[in-house]
Subunit: 303 residues, 2 copies
């Protein structure tokens, strides 16, 4: 089903930070035969060729798919649904189609609507990497090193297709894990989509108050780190908020209940309740920091 | 009223990150005659002497105050109120008393209760610096360089006393600004106290859900930065939450209203409303990042 790593041909549909970093990561490691880029507009694709991120590009989806063993949908989340529809008439038995979108449930629903039974060669996946930067200019070959890629096989997905996509990500030194679509969307709502929503709301509520126009002048390092993700691409997070609507609403509600409880503790000057919340959180965050430190140490020792 | 910088004598009451960094910053610059440390327990004070942060220490408050021209209350926020009460019988006309606490309104109230009319030589101040680290071990001479120190003079505060405390902070290369107590507490509630509360609540609500025990394994860089402040000292933030209760409750309510509005936009799939929130926030956060970059450039060119 799959070509040897150094001869396989990749089509990247949508050339931004993630698709570009996968392409250049494989090319710099000599683990791909050819990478062809496809998109609606030539500008970022031309830039991708100039930067050595891709070998060549086309604006013709049919041509891109015909030239590939593996197609990676790397467009913004909601556009990925449209691209899947455009791929349907171009589907072949020997083609593997995968994606990099931050939400998986909407693509599963789209696949079921389009195909009835989703194709065995469709492998939904999500590399947990990125930054507040975006675009092919930010792409780099080491973006995924020691980062997790979550593959969410459907009951219909062929094991061989999952293996091919797993190999693709391991080839850029990512760590691949599998989970269900539902679990993925719940976990990501809590650890990623909710924090982005909170950061956007905080900055917007401060910036929108004219009485507080110079308020940012008095912000310290904690505020800088806390709000960094509010500089992320609004279109990307708009798409994610809609694509993962149900899980995000649940995460917001769970958070709001916690905030309401803390508010009530502060309101009634309940010191022990406030302390209990802060101590539990610090303990969990400190454990998380230790885990991150171990990951970093493991990464360094591999270099 | 004040001694020349290199001969003035400082008493630091409570030797942690902030008091220790002020002490060692002045000592390393040769801008202090002597620094005496005072606290309830000898351990951190002994460590302060070992590390060269202070010259000597005492457990006797009367002795510490008698040896000083300027007394800096650098204990946790709520304890600062008690220390102010203990200072009352030791007050002298030629003594300046200042503090470093993160909330100013509770100390103004304490001063009015204790003294009726607050002493002209009491200067409430707040250096906006710190980290999730705490304790004298983390103290360092450059902590305040290009950081803001907010001085909040009361109507009763003597201009000469404000000048002496301003000089003290400029001597460790901080940038001093003045504002009212009320404005300070409102601004800090929004830019510091609220973000800490949000980070603590987020981590606590995730860590408290047994179904999500391994959820942090799938968290990316954004989550790491967003939750860093949840590793801050729980006692410090417990104190701040109670000391600045009213302003913090208002900030929580303002934030909650913003979150509710975003929740409703997501619930009714209102893409334009979601985009508007995220775009306004990104623009404000990007402007904030530019301001930080300018500050950093200014700092570098001074070195």
């Amino acid at each position: 089903m799959t070509a040897p790593a150094h001869t396989r041909r990749l089509a990247i549909l949508g050339l931004g930070l993630i698709g570009g970093s996968l392409a250049v990561g494989l090319r710099q490691r000599g683990l791909v035969g050819e990478v062809i880029g496809w998109g609606r507009r030539a500008a970022s694709l031309e830039r991708g060729v100039e930067l050595g991120v891709i070998d060549r590009y086309t604006l013709d989806l049919k041509e891109a798919v015909a030239a590939a063993d593996i197609v990676v949908i790397a467009t913004p989340t909601l556009i990925a649904e449209q691209v899947l529809a455009e791929l349907k008439p171009l589907w072949r038995d020997d083609l593997i189609v995968t994606d990099v979108a931050s939400v998986k449930g909407n693509l599963e629903r789209a696949a079921r609507q389009l195909f009835g039974t989703p194709p065995a060669s469709l492998v939904l996946a999500h590399p947990i990497a990125g930054s507040e930067k975006s675009g092919v200019e930010a792409a780099h070959a080491e973006l995924f090193v020691s980062h997790r890629v979550i593959i969410t096989p459907l009951p219909e997905t062929a094991p061989a297709a999952v293996e091919a996509v797993t190999a693709l990500w391991r080839d850029v030194d990512a760590e691949v894990v599998e989970m269900s679509v539902e679990r993925h969307d719940t976990v990501l709502a809590a650890t990623s989509h909710l924090p982005h929503a909170l950061a956007y709301v905080l900055v917007d509520s401060l910036a929108g108050d004219p009485a507080q126009r110079d308020i940012f002048r008095f912000a310290a390092g904690g505020f800088r780190d806390f709000t960094r993700i509010a500089s992320s691409d609004p279109t990307m997070w708009h798409d994610i908020s809609l694509a993962n609507r149900d899980a995000l609403l649940l995460a917001i509600d769970q958070f709001s209940a916690g905030l309401k409880a803390l508010r009530e503790s502060i309101d009634r000057r309940d010191g022990p309740a406030i302390m209990a919340t802060f101590e539990r959180a610090k303990e969990a965050r400190d454990q998380f920091a230790v885990m991150l430190e171990r990951q970093r140490a493991a990464t360094t020792s591999q270099e």
